[in-house]
């Protein structure tokens, strides 16, 4: 967040409280950060810290208790499919639709005509390298391929922002690494702004320009770490001392804040 590109997403003092009447639970507290146009920002934090809630507030799916989210300076209060696409842990493809029809679905909802939809879907499938699977059904594809289709579907309406909620969390490690590469390739080619939630420190750092570190109870941002790693990223970078040192900094930010994790038994991790 230092390159001076325009800010595309900004959150201002976001706060989310559940169960206001009795025993209120503060899920998010004073969340403020800015994401620059075209950057790749990861958000890491322990499970249950409110990462998904934050993402849903940013997508306009859930209202915040106070504070606001600005996209291009305009407050987000409801879903804005023309600007923001979402991806989930599951590919959430519609099992009765062919792959190409799945990619066309958000375009259909927008009322785009058939020919343009077809054209767009074909281009997106080519982008994720799955053109030959256009006429297949989701269950005929592997988990990694389904998640690539999900990327293609998210990109099809040509949004500026991609919000991803642990999109590779359900995949095995090798597939996950490949998907990371794939996502970086697509990101470099399309120039989208990506906000990527994960609980894997390695994944967060490997992919991002900037890593936001979140703690829980209440969920708040405890650190903003500049990855400071060269691009293009390769798998070998994970073994370098710089990578390890930065990852340790992220870990110490998470663990110092958490009594469960900061006990001596966990210190060596």
């Amino acid at each position: 967040m230092t390159s001076g590109r325009p800010v595309v997403i900004e959150t201002r003092a976001l706060r989310k409280v559940y169960g206001i009447d009795r025993a209120p639970i503060v899920a998010l507290q004073d969340i403020s950060f800015a994401v620059e146009e075209g950057s790749f920002v990861s958000l890491v934090g322990p499970s249950g810290c409110g990462k998904s809630t934050l993402l849903q507030i940013m997508a306009g799916l859930v209202p915040s208790t106070s504070g606001e989210v600005l996209v291009d300076g305009v407050a987000v209060r409801q879903p804005a499919p023309e600007k923001i696409s979402l991806m989930f842990q599951d590919a959430t493809l519609l099992p009765w639709k062919r792959i190409s029809e799945n990619i066309e679905f958000p375009l259909e909802i927008r009322g785009m005509d058939r020919d343009e939809r077809r054209h767009r879907a074909a281009a997106m499938l080519a982008l994720v390298g799955l053109s030959e699977f256009a006429e297949r059904y989701p269950h005929e594809l592997s988990g990694g391929m389904r998640q690539r289709v999900s990327i293609a579907r998210a990109l099809a309406p040509d949004p500026r922002i991609l919000l991803m909620d642990e999109p590779f969390g359900a995949l095995d490690e090798q597939t996950r690494i490949k998907m990371g590469y794939e996502l970086l390739r697509v990101w470099e080619k399309t120039g989208k702004t990506i906000f990527f939630i994960t609980h894997s420190l390695t994944e967060a750092l490997f992919l991002a320009d900037t890593v936001l570190v979140m703690s829980h109870r209440p969920g708040r941002i405890v650190g903003t770490i500049d990855a400071g790693l060269p691009r293009p990223r390769t798998y070998e970078i994970i073994g370098t001392p710089e990578f390890g040192a930065t990852r340790n900094r992220i870990w110490s930010l998470i663990s110092q804040d958490d009594r469960d994790l900061s006990s001596e038994g966990m210190a060596g991790l």
Binding site: L61, P79, I109, R110
Partner: protein, 248 residues
């Protein structure tokens, strides 16, 4: 395959016929295929009239049971509070032997077509509503978020995402519900009525015309087969993706 099937049918018919020919079983208990045939030739017109009535009742009852069951199940499935309260009520109502209510239906709606149709609707409604509700509730929350994030209206989320996702569960509810509608119509006709297949079965039983009773049962079987055939069509049309999924 088809040849073997026909052969099997011929053998069964042959055995059935010979059991009666050699009088191994009395005429009150069993009618042979030829006796049933004779009964049909003699009074086919009565059966056509009865079939028409029964088929009408089944068709009307099915239309209502399907529509109401899916509508109520969808509404209940969409609201956590409603499904939490309505769920157990629906399930326990479904467990009550509905036939015990039939005398009341007659008091309310008379012994004509209306009481049969209402009774059949009530019998078929519950499994359809319960399965629809469960199917809607079982859809992963992420699909709801997806629908809203891509700009679906509430109606589009329901029609384009939730109902198709719930279709396998809805169809199995339709299977049970449809069978109960057919049973409901025929049983209600047997208990008290002025016509229909159930009425004929009951009437001929009371005058010990066994061949006619069997003919009536065959007609009821025919109704069930036709309805089942329609249901299989619906199943293929709306849940083909799931069939493929199981094979794959």
């Amino acid at each position: 395959m088809t040849f073997r099937r026909w052969l099997a049918i011929l053998i069964v018919l042959g055995l059935w016929e010979s059991v009666r020919r050699f009088n191994l079983v009395g005429p009150l208990l069993l009618a042979s295929p030829t006796e049933i045939g004779e009964a049909f030739v003699k009074s086919w017109f009565d059966y056509v009239v009865a079939l028409r009535l029964t088929a009408t009742e089944i068709a009307i009852a099915l239309a209502f049971a399907w529509t109401l069951g899916i509508a109520v199940g969808t509404i209940a499935g969409l609201r956590p509070f409603l499904s939490a309260t309505a769920g157990p009520i629906l399930s326990s109502l479904f467990a009550v032997p509905l036939i015990s209510w039939y005398p009341l239906f007659m008091v309310w709606f008379g012994i004509g077509i209306t009481s049969k149709i209402t009774y059949a609707i009530v019998s078929g409604f519950f499994p359809i509503a319960i399965n629809t509700m469960n199917g809607i509730r079982a859809v992963d929350h992420q699909y709801l978020l997806l629908g809203r994030a891509i700009g679906c209206s509430r109606r589009q989320v329901i029609v384009r995402i939730l109902l198709p996702m719930a279709m396998p569960s809805i169809v199995s509810g339709l299977r049970i519900g449809t069978a109960l509608v057919v049973i409901g119509v025929i049983v209600a006709e047997m208990l008290a009525s002025l016509g229909g297949i159930g009425y004929l079965i009951s009437y001929y039983r009371s005058i010990y015309a066994t061949a006619h009773v069997y003919l009536g049962i065959l007609c009821a079987l025919g109704c069930a087969l036709v309805v089942n055939w329609g249901l299989s069509y619906v199943e293929r049309r709306f849940t083909h993706w799931r069939v493929v999924q199981i094979e794959g």
